[in-house]
Symmetry: C2
Subunit: 387 residues, 2 copies
């Protein structure tokens, strides 16, 4: 039972933690406290679906130097021992009297000088996965040590992927490519949308996904109104546009892209929308370079859509991708995050076909020194028809 | 696109919110702020896998009377309009300048008197799904109004399920029953564990799960060491005990139970362990009554295991179940939560067969006035063998 379960060689984790530690030092942070599945997986290799249970908090501390320290429920000790952590401190959780508070406070106090501070991601696209009252209790116990914001420390490191990470994302993109190619097998006029969603998940598993964390989509005559609703039993009809979007997972890494299909013959509005989305994506793929900001990219996409006579619609037009379905930055008019070499991104332009009817299209890429390299297999220019 | 998407009649949501409002009044809370998928779904019917994206916070406010108010990213407005909410306020998220902070603060300030307080779940088995710094900003903006703990308000209401909820859990338990019955089709000596996990997920989808949020398990000679690790490519071998555990989802409700199988002939240790787990579960099913506490139930299970010559092992011996894979209370020696009629619970006794080798067994039930009613189909007394 004791063989290592690491997805990457230990050098990968060492490098990640050293990159974090350099940023911590520059920011004056003596330790990092990490609580979310993605942050914990990133620095330790601890990968489990057990996070689905909200019963217990899990704490990883990145000290100023050396390996992370795990302060975790005893039920996770065996698995953590097979990861890139040697200092593992456990308690029997959930404990209504003291659910890891003392153990965490003592650990932090032992690592960080009294005048020191502990970084915690606190800003946009973060949350703290532990009870708020316990966070306050730990803060009181470790005073005068202080918690400070470490969003930047974590995000600037995690957003630049290693080649090993890029390969993982390429593999799961390939899984989704193959599942999308099979959509015509189980879609068509008369087929209920909820069964299409089920069969699509089955196809993703058959093609190699470890699990399917996200499937969404929409269907409607000539376009759809919404891209986050669960599927109902209504059957697909001739003239519908069907969109399926997935975040499937392999070795802890996500893909996130979608595909559109016409059920029967595509109408002109849907065909034009798909062509505009394809062309805008082409423009962005050609123009994307390190050093641009997310808002520059937003400008490229909206400009290209308008140049093709389309009205931009939907939500943000792309985002980061990797250990979660979506990561920062956001391709919006307000996000000035600099796009750097090694970032894995989605391009997700959307157009409004008519009020209440949209089409969105998404591809996954890695940003290289000389521009975009696709990780998903580019969709075809013409909206595919399922007959 | 505008048809309602509610899983239950509106009367169900009205009743839930009225139950919350009575407890809020008793606790002196003028509003509740809810941020997690389960709490939001509970009071509004808003069900989407889009929660998988950590990019955006979502806020539901339960006022002292009347329907909940949604303060949410614009991308969710269409779906929320089809739920049990009429007052929907949106912003374009993610917005690095103000990610809903002003809108949430203004909404709370408009609902709650200056001397009032807003309940937020803060204690055991809770977390706040929004950036910590934004929570502090909202708190500063709404002062002198205060955030106070509302864990009890939410947990005492949500833990007692309606008949409609119980039916939903019964349905997804039935899905898992049928998938477990098919495990011998795709398991056996030589079959890699990761492919067994994949085929089990496929079976759950084929039998009617909307999605599969949790599959875990273990396999090893005469028992397994750990129940939360992902599956590797190692093949099952004759003499192994295989355990599969699932939290599949239908209409937003979870099952959570497991099954054990011997690969080939079961050895004596594994057979005795299974028999002890079965007998202890029988004892608990017979003795369980409203008014007992979770720790009373823990005593019943550990006593019964010891009476059958077994050593209790594994983690807690059961827990609540419903809108998440696990809910409070925890069947441990420290949880004095009173078990009440209408609670849906798991019984999850575990035994240590030898050091590093355990077996766990789980069933799902609803607590009725006169005792336990099973929701999962009782496993057989003898450890099933796969030949």
């Amino acid at each position: 039972m004791a063989e290592p379960l690491l997805i990457f060689p230990t050098a990968e984790y060492r490098l990640r933690v050293e990159r974090l530690q350099r940023r911590m030092q520059a920011a004056g942070q003596d330790a990092l406290l990490l609580t979310t599945p993605a942050d914990v997986f990133y620095v330790t290799g601890f990968l489990t679906r057990f996070w689905e249970s909200p019963a217990r908090p899990w704490f990883i501390i990145v000290p100023a130097s050396g390996r992370p320290i795990a302060v975790i429920p005893a039920i996770g000790a065996d698995l953590m021992r097979r990861c890139w952590v040697t200092d593992i401190r456990t308690w029997d959780a959930p404990n209504p009297e003291d659910d890891g508070v003392s153990l965490l406070a003592d650990t932090l106090a032992g690592l960080v000088p009294e005048t020191g501070c502990i970084g915690v991601p606190m800003q946009l696209e973060t949350h703290l996965r532990m009870p708020l009252a316990d966070y306050a209790r730990v803060g009181a116990r470790i005073a005068p040590r202080r918690f400070v914001d470490a969003t930047d420390t974590v995000q600037r490191v995690r957003e630049v992927k290693s080649e090993a990470e890029i390969e993982k994302i390429r593999v799961i993109c390939g899984v989704a490519d193959r599942a999308f190619a099979r959509v015509p097998e189980f879609s068509g006029a008369g087929r209920p949308l909820d069964l299409v969603f089920r069969d699509f998940q089955i196809a993703l598993l058959q093609e190699g996904a470890d699990w399917v964390s996200y499937v969404a989509g929409g269907a409607g005559p000539g376009g759809y109104g919404d891209v986050i609703s669960p599927a109902g039993p209504q059957p697909l009809a001739l003239g519908d546009v069907l969109m399926l979007d997935t975040g499937a997972v392999r070795d802890g890494y996500f893909c996130d892209f979608d595909r559109n299909y016409a059920i029967g013959r595509a109408d002109d509005g849907a065909r034009r929308a798909h062509a505009a989305l394809f062309a805008a994506t082409d423009t962005a793929l050609a123009e994307l370079r390190p050093g641009m900001t997310a808002l520059d990219l937003h400008g490229v996409l909206t400009g290209a859509l308008r140049a093709h006579g389309a009205t931009p619609g939907g939500g943000r037009l792309g985002h980061g991708l990797g250990l979660t379905l979506t990561e920062w930055p956001s391709v919006t008019a307000k996000d000035d995050t600099v796009l750097r070499e090694g970032m894995v991104l989605t391009l997700e332009p959307g157009v409004e076909i008519e009020p209440g009817k949209i089409m969105v299209h998404e591809e996954n890429l890695v940003l290289r020194a000389d521009g975009a390299e696709l990780l998903s297999t580019r969709t075809q220019p013409d909206l595919p028809e399922i007959h």
